[in-house]
Amino acid sequence: MDFKDSDTIPGPRTEDRLPQTAQAAVKIVIVGGFGVGKTTMVGSVSEIRPLTTEETMTQAGIGVDDNFGSDTKTATTVAMDFGRISITEKLVLYLFGTPGQERFWFLWNGLFEGALGAVVLIDTRRLEVSFDVIGRLEERGVPFVVAVNSFPDAPRYPIEELRQALDLPPEIPIVECDARRRASSRDTLMTLMRFLHSLAMTGALT
């Protein structure tokens, strides 16, 4: 990219600027498989037009593809959409829509470790996709709730049946949502916050 004329670099629109009083930020991660509705959810609650941060990686491959024996390198670009909600004049909340594959997570230093918690978005047409994500969050001790994004042609299971299939303890909230609707996405985030609050009350947060 050419920085010579930095006046032309697009910056935040006036209404997307944070006030000078903004002092600290918190983050929540929305994680799930491709096409499950992460970007949609970020966009429906964000006060700014959702933005994208990208990272490019090379994968040093020996015999991992067709060119066995040659030292191949493949570049992979991983994108993460995010949005923002001003909480007070001092505090800002950021929401990150993060791909489900754990091998990408290290790219964004502390993405899960520092997050208040996570929303695991699931699509009942491809429930298996979320198994790995849930296992990884459990291993990392990241508190999370599960939101079932309701696609019209998706099989509908009773919540308790889903709980059993996902092998989740009774205290972990599982809710239905429509990521396209602001109120529904906001309610999902509230479910996470109430869950985090209840963990804080019982001192159960690891």
């Binding site: 600290a24 930020a25 941060t53 995010f82 909340l93 099989p155 299971y157 804080a200």
Partner: protein
């Protein structure tokens, strides 16, 4: 119809003992490398560390530094800087590491999840969401 069943991976099996490498073999061939990584010391920057300019661009400023300083006359997260500058997060952290050392910008650390959660913080976030 019943949904597919998740198998828990607990308890984790102990890691297998490492085998000595054969001639020409490399460990962990699937490991990914960040392109912008230079291995140098990097400031501890989070995606949501807020960055604010603390100086005008000095004559010695590089074009990247000048662009960045113009963007963060008001606080802006590292993630937003990466998006507006169209640069990978890792590259932005390299640029910012230099600028922090030169005192061109200030960084405000994020509030991260604590072992003992800050209830008033959680309540503030809940109030903020309720107003949406």
């Amino acid at each position: 119809m019943t949904p597919p069943q998740r198998q828990r991976r607990y308890p984790k099996p102990p890691p297998a003992p490492r085998q000595p490498l054969k001639e020409g073999e490399r460990r962990n061939p699937e490991r990914m490398f960040v392109v912008g990584g230079d291995g140098g010391a990097r400031a501890d920057l989070d995606l949501v560390t807020l960055i604010v300019a603390s100086a005008d661009p000095p004559p010695s400023a590089t074009p990247e530094q000048t662009a960045l300083l113009r963007l963060c006359t008001a606080p802006l997260s590292v993630a937003e800087l990466s998006a507006y500058l169209n640069l990978p997060f890792s590259v932005v952290t390299v640029v910012l590491t230099e600028m922090l050392a030169d005192e061109l910008v200030e960084a405000h650390k994020p509030l991260v999840r604590q072992s003992v959660a800050d209830r008033s913080l959680l309540e503030a976030v809940m109030h903020g969401l309720q107003r949406l």
